[in-house]
Amino acid sequence: MIISFFVGINEANRSWKMILLLLAANVLSSLPLIVPIFLLVFDTSRGTIAADSLMADKLDAVWFMDVANHKFPGATTETVALQVGGLFVVMGVCYLLLNTLLTGGVIGVFNSADGLFTMRKFWGEAGAYFWRFFRLTLISLIFYGVAVGIYALLRWPIKNAAEQASAYESVIYKRWAAMALLALLFAFINMVFDYAKIGTVARSVRGDSKGMFRETFRAFRFAFRNFFSAFGLFLIIATVGFALFIVFNALRWSVDQSSAGRVSLAILLGQIAIAGRMWTRLLFYAAEMHLYKKLAPAAAPAPVIVESRLV
C-alpha cells in the first residue's frame, strides 16, 4: 500500500502535461457560467465609480444587491436559484461526460508500458474506453443511490428524535455520524469504480456488452478481498489531496485582492489549488493501478502502443 502510494506520487509528478490538460478542460468547462458573470459586472460597473470600488478584497454587498434588484426586476430567489441551478446541472453533466472521457486517457497512459504521456496515446485511450467508462458511471449511480437510501433510512429516526429534543447537541452528533457514514460509503463506492475502470483497462476488456457488470463485480470482489490495503490507500491519498487543497486555498484567500497585481496572484494561486486537485486525481489512478496489478489476478500484459498504428 505504501509502495503504491509513493509510486503513484512519482507517476503523478512526471505527468505534468496531463495535469495541464485536465486543468485546461476544467477552465474551459467553467466558462459558460463565468462569461455571463464577467459581462454582468462589466456592464453594470463601467462608467461608474463602482468600477473602482469593486477592485477591493470584499464585495460591496450594497452594490451587488442593487444590481440583483434592478438588473433582474421581479426575479425571486426561487426563479434565480432555478435558472442558475439548472445551468449548473447542465454544466455538471457535460463536465462529468468530459471527465469520463479524460479518465480513459489517464488510466490508459498509466497502463501503457512506458507510462509516458503523449497526446495521441492519451486521446486514443480516452476514445477507446469512453463508452465502457460511461456505462460504469451509470452503474455507479445505482450504488450511490443505495448509499443515499441508507443515509435517508438513518435520518428518519434522527429526525423523529430531533422533533422531541430540547437540546441540539444530542441531535447534531447523530447527524454527523450519519453524514460520516454516507461519506465513507461514497468513498468506498468511488474506490470500487476506480478499480472497475482500472480492471477494464488492465484486462483490455473489449466488445462484451455485459463486461461492465462483470467488471463491477470483480472490482467489488477485489475491494473486499484487499479491503484494508485498497481502502487504506484511498483514504491516505484523499487526506493528502484534501490537505493540499486546504493549504493552497488558504494561500489564495490570504491575498488581499485590491489591486491588479494581487488579483493576478490570487488567480495564479487559485489555479495552482485546482491543479493540485488534478494532481491528486492522477495520484489516485496511478497508485491504485500499481496496487491492482500487484494484488489482482493476472491481467493482460501492458499494451505497447505504437503510435503509428493509431493514425
Binding site: 460597473s45 430540547s166 447537541e169
Partner: protein
C-alpha cells in the same frame, strides 16, 4: 402669647398641608429605587392598571408545564375625563384555541418560522369576575370582535358595568381564570420542561380619550389578537405570585425582582415577583436553565470621556447622561453555557449605548431568557425588564446572538417605556428599535459578516461585508411598496409587508433622516422623544412634532413621502458632458476680415493656452419621491465641485455649488416637480466624475448603481469578480468529477 394649641383643627390642617407639600415636592423631583434623584420627566405617572396575581402552574399527565389557575386583583384607574360604562379585556391565549380565531385565519398556523402543531392548543377562560365587594360581572361577559366580522374570535371581551366609573375613580376587580398554554408558538407556550408564560392573564385594554393619540371619539383601544400585531396596555404595578412544581426550584425568571421564595413542602415552590411602572408581565421556567447573575456597573463600562462626549453632543449637563447600575440575570440553556460572556457583553453594550444616547434605563433589573431547541418560537421577544433571546449551538462570528439581545433590550425603550400602540403603529416600536439596534451593533461590533455554515458549524466567511444599516436595503428596496409604513398591523397586504415596513424600511427611513440631520441632531430628537413620551402612549404625529420642534424645521415633506407614502426614491446620474471651449472650425470675423480656423485647437491667428470646459451634468428623478440629494463633481486636475441643497421652499430645492479650487460659489435651483435637472457650469479642467449622494446618506435611494458616471472601463472589476467566481465553479465541478 396666645396658646398655639387653642385651635387643634388649624394645627391639623397645617400639618396636613405640610405633608401634602412634601409629597408634591417629592413628585417634582422624586427618588429612584436606587436613591438617585429623579428629574420631573423621569417620574412615572400614577399607575392605571395594577395587577396582583396568584397563579399556579400545573403539569399535565406527560409532566409538561401547561395549565394555569389564577386569581387576579386588577386595580384600574379611570384617568380620563370620561365616564366609562363598560370594560374591555384581552384574552390573548384564545388566539390558539382553534383554527377559527382571527390569528389562525390570518397566519394560516405559521408565524416567525414556526408551524403550529395541531392538538397543542391554548386557551384562557374567565371563570369569575366581580367588582371587589360588589357586583358579580361574570354573566355579563361577552366576546366581541372590534376589528373584523369574525364572531368565532374570542380574544376580546366586554364587560358592562352596572355602575359606570367616573373620571378619576379607581375600581378593583377580582378575576378568577384558568388557562392552558399552547405548545410553543407565536412567543408563548411550553416545550418539554420549558414554559414561556406570556400574555397569559386577562389584561384590560386601554381607554383613550378624545384627542389622545389623535383620536376623534373616546373609547376602548382593545384590538383582537392578529397574526401581524403585538400588544398595547397601560402602565401599572405588578405583584405576581407563582406556585410551580418543585422541579423548577430556582429555575424561574420573570418581569421584575424576586421578593420571596417559599418551599411549600408539598411538591411545590412559591415565588413572588414585583415590578412597578410596567405594562406587561411574563415569566418562564425550565429545569435546563443555568442561571447567571451579573451586575452592570456604569463606572466599569462607561468612561468619563464617553459621558462628557455625549453631554457635549447632546448639549446636556453631565448628570443628565448618568447611567445607573442594575442587575442582569441570564437564564441560559446548558448546551449554550460557552456563550454566557457573549450574552452579557451584548446586554451591557445595549444598556450602555441606549443609556448614553436616549436616556437612563430606569429599572433595577433585566432578565434574559435563552429558550431551548424546539422552543425557539418563544425567542426574540420583549416584555418589560424581561427579554427572550435565542442562539445556535455553535454560533460563528456573525452578530447572533448579539443582534437579538440588543434588539430585545432596545424594546425596553421603544415599547416598554415609550409605550406606543403596537397594533396600530408597529413602526414606532419595531422600526425605531431596528434603527437603534443597528446603531449599537455598528458602534460596538462593526460590520457584520456572512457565514457559510453546514451541519451546525460555520466553515468560513464569504468575502462580503454587511455594514449596518445597509444590510436592510436589499430586501426592502427590491420592489414596489404595497403599503405605507404607517398602516395598522393587521391591515398590511400580508405578513411580509408588515415585517418589511415595520422593521427594515423604518430603519432605512430613520437612518436616512439621521444622515440628513447629522448624528448629533438626530440623537437630540430621539432623546427628546424618549423623555417626553416615557410612560405614555405616543402616536406617530407626536414623533413628527418632536422632530419639527427639535430641528426647528418642518419635515412634513419627509414623513408624508416616506412614512405615509409608497413612492420609490431613485435618482439617476444620467449623463455628463465636458467639452473644451474653443477650437471650433470655420470662418470667423476678426479685425474686419474673415479668418479661417481649419482644425480644432489650431487657431491660425492665435495660440490660446488657457482651457475652459463647458460642463453639463444631467440628473434624473426616476422614482416618484424626491429628496434634496447632494452631488459631487470631480475634475481631472483633482478639484471638486460640491452641490449641496441649502434650502427647500416653495416647491424648489436651492443648491449651492462650491468649487474647491478657488472657493467660487454659485446657486442653482431644481423645481421639485421636474423630473430632471441639468447642472451647467464652466471649469478650467475637464469634468471626469459626477456622483449623486457621495456619502451614501440617502439609504432610501432604491438604486445606488445609477448614482455615478465616470470614465472607468470596468474591466478590472469584472476580471476580479469573475475569476473569483470561476475558482468556486472550478472547485465545485472538480468535486462533481468524483462521480466519473
Amino acid at each position: 402669647m396666645k396658646n398655639p394649641f387653642r385651635h387643634p383643627a388649624k394645627i391639623l390642617a397645617a400639618l396636613f398641608g405640610i405633608a401634602i407639600s412634601l409629597s408634591l415636592g417629592a413628585r417634582l423631583w422624586g427618588v429612584s429605587a436606587d436613591s438617585r434623584i429623579l428629574l420631573a420627566d423621569e417620574i412615572p405617572p400614577e399607575p392605571i392598571a395594577s395587577y396582583k396575581i396568584d397563579v399556579q402552574l400545573k403539569l399535565d399527565d406527560k409532566q409538561r408545564p401547561k395549565h394555569l389557575e389564577g386569581v387576579e386583583r386588577l386595580t384600574w384607574l379611570n384617568h380620563s375625563k370620561d365616564t366609562i360604562s363598560e370594560l374591555q379585556f384581552h384574552l390573548y391565549l384564545n388566539a390558539f384555541k382553534n383554527e377559527k380565531s382571527t390569528f389562525f385565519e390570518e397566519s394560516g398556523g405559521q408565524l416567525r418560522g414556526d408551524e403550529f402543531q395541531p392538538g397543542a392548543w391554548g386557551w384562557i377562560d374567565v371563570n369569575k369576575m366581580k367588582l371587589a365587594g360588589g357586583e358579580d360581572l361574570t354573566s355579563k361577559i361577552e366576546f366581541i370582535h372590534p376589528d373584523d366580522d369574525n364572531s368565532d374570535d374570542q380574544t376580546v371581551i366586554r364587560v358592562p358595568l352596572g355602575k359606570p366609573v367616573k373620571p378619576g375613580e379607581k375600581i378593583a376587580l377580582d378575576i378568577k381564570f384558568t388557562a392552558q398554554l399552547p405548545r410553543v408558538f407565536a412567543r408563548t407556550g411550553y416545550w418539554a420542561t420549558f414554559a414561556l408564560v406570556g400574555q397569559w392573564f386577562p389584561k384590560i385594554g386601554v381607554w383613550e380619550s378624545a384627542g389622545e393619540r389623535r383620536r376623534e371619539l373616546p373609547g376602548w383601544n382593545c384590538h383582537q389578537f392578529h397574526a401581524s400585531s403585538e400588544f398595547y396596555a397601560d402602565f401599572g404595578n405588578y405583584d405576581v405570585t407563582m406556585t410551580v412544581p418543585a422541579a423548577y426550584k430556582s429555575k424561574i425568571g420573570a418581569t421584575g425582582v424576586m421578593k420571596s421564595e417559599r418551599d411549600n413542602q408539598d411538591g411545590t415552590v412559591t415565588y413572588n415577583f414585583v415590578q412597578d411602572n410596567v405594562h406587561d408581565f411574563a415569566w418562564t421556567v425550565d429545569t435546563n436553565y443555568i442561571i447567571v447573575k451579573r451586575r452592570f456597573k456604569a463606572d466599569e463600562h462607561v468612561t468619563d470621556s464617553e459621558i462628557n462626549e455625549w453631554s457635549s453632543r447632546l448639549n446636556l449637563p453631565v448628570d443628565r447622561i448618568a447611567i445607573t447600575d442594575l442587575d442582569v440575570t441570564l437564564m441560559i440553556q446548558t448546551e449554550h453555557r460557552d456563550q454566557i460572556d457573549r450574552h452579557f457583553k451584548a446586554a451591557f453594550n445595549a444598556i450602555k449605548y441606549f443609556g448614553l444616547w436616549y436616556g437612563n434605563y430606569p429599572y433595577n433589573t433585566l432578565t434574559i431568557v435563552d429558550p431551548p431547541y424546539n422552543g425557539g418560537g418563544a425567542g426574540g421577544m420583549e416584555y418589560p425588564t424581561f427579554i427572550t433571546a435565542g442562539t445556535s449551538w455553535r454560533p460563528g462570528l456573525d452578530q447572533n446572538p448579539e443582534e437579538v439581545i440588543v434588539h430585545e433590550f432596545g424594546h425596553q425603550f421603544w415599547y416598554g417605556l415609550v409605550a406606543s400602540n403596537e397594533f396600530e403603529e408597529s413602526w414606532l416600536d419595531e422600526g425605531f428599535n431596528t434603527y437603534s439596534t443597528a446603531k449599537v451593533l455598528k458602534t460596538a461590533y462593526g460590520a457584520n459578516v456572512e457565514p457559510f455554515g453546514f451541519a451546525g458549524i460555520t466553515w468560513f466567511y464569504l468575502p462580503i461585508e454587511k455594514p449596518h444599516p445597509y444590510e436592510d436595503r436589499p430586501l426592502t428596496l427590491q420592489g414596489k411598496f404595497n403599503d405605507p409604513i404607517l398602516t395598522p398591523a393587521w391591515k398590511f397586504y400580508d405578513q411580509s409587508s408588515y415585517s418589511l415596513n415595520s422593521y427594515p424600511r423604518t430603519n432605512l427611513t430613520l437612518s436616512t433622516l439621521e444622515r440628513y440631520l447629522g448624528e448629533d441632531l438626530m440623537a437630540r430628537v430621539m432623546r427628546e422623544y424618549y423623555h417626553k413620551w416615557r410612560y405614555r402612549h405616543p402616536a406617530s404625529q407626536d414623533f413628527f412634532d418632536t422632530v419639527n420642534q427639535v430641528t426647528g424645521r418642518d419635515f412634513a415633506w419627509f414623513f408624508d413621502q416616506f412614512v405615509k407614502g409608497v413612492g420609490e426614491l431613485d435618482y439617476e446620474l444620467a449623463e455628463i458632458k465636458s467639452e473644451r471651449r474653443g477650437g471650433e472650425i470655420g470662418l470667423f470675423d476678426k479685425d474686419g476680415r474673415k479668418a479661417e480656423v481649419k482644425a480644432p485647437g489650431h487657431d491660425v491667428e492665435e495660440k490660446d493656452q488657457s482651457a475652459t470646459y463647458d460642463n453639463e451634468v444631467a440628473v434624473r428623478r426616476v422614482g416618484e419621491a424626491w429628496f434634496p440629494v447632494e452631488m459631487l463633481f470631480t475634475l481631472k486636475d483633482g478639484a471638486r465641485i460640491s452641490a449641496k441643497p441649502v434650502n427647500t421652499r416653495d416647491g424648489v430645492i436651492e443648491y449651492q455649488l462650491t468649487d474647491s479650487k478657488d472657493g467660487r460659489q454659485w446657486s442653482d435651483d431644481w423645481v421639485i416637480k421636474d423630473r430632471w435637472k441639468k447642472f451647467l457650469f464652466t471649469t478650467g479642467s475637464k469634468l471626469v466624475t459626477a456622483e449623486i449622494d457621495p456619502e451614501r446618506k440617502v439609504l432610501l435611494d432604491a438604486n445606488l448603481t445609477n448614482n455615478s458616471k465616470n470614465g472607468s472601463t470596468g474591466v478590472g472589476a469584472a476580471v476580479r469578480w469573475s475569476t473569483g467566481a470561476m475558482y468556486w465553479v472550478q472547485a465545485i465541478m472538480q468535486a462533481l468529477s468524483f462521480l466519473s
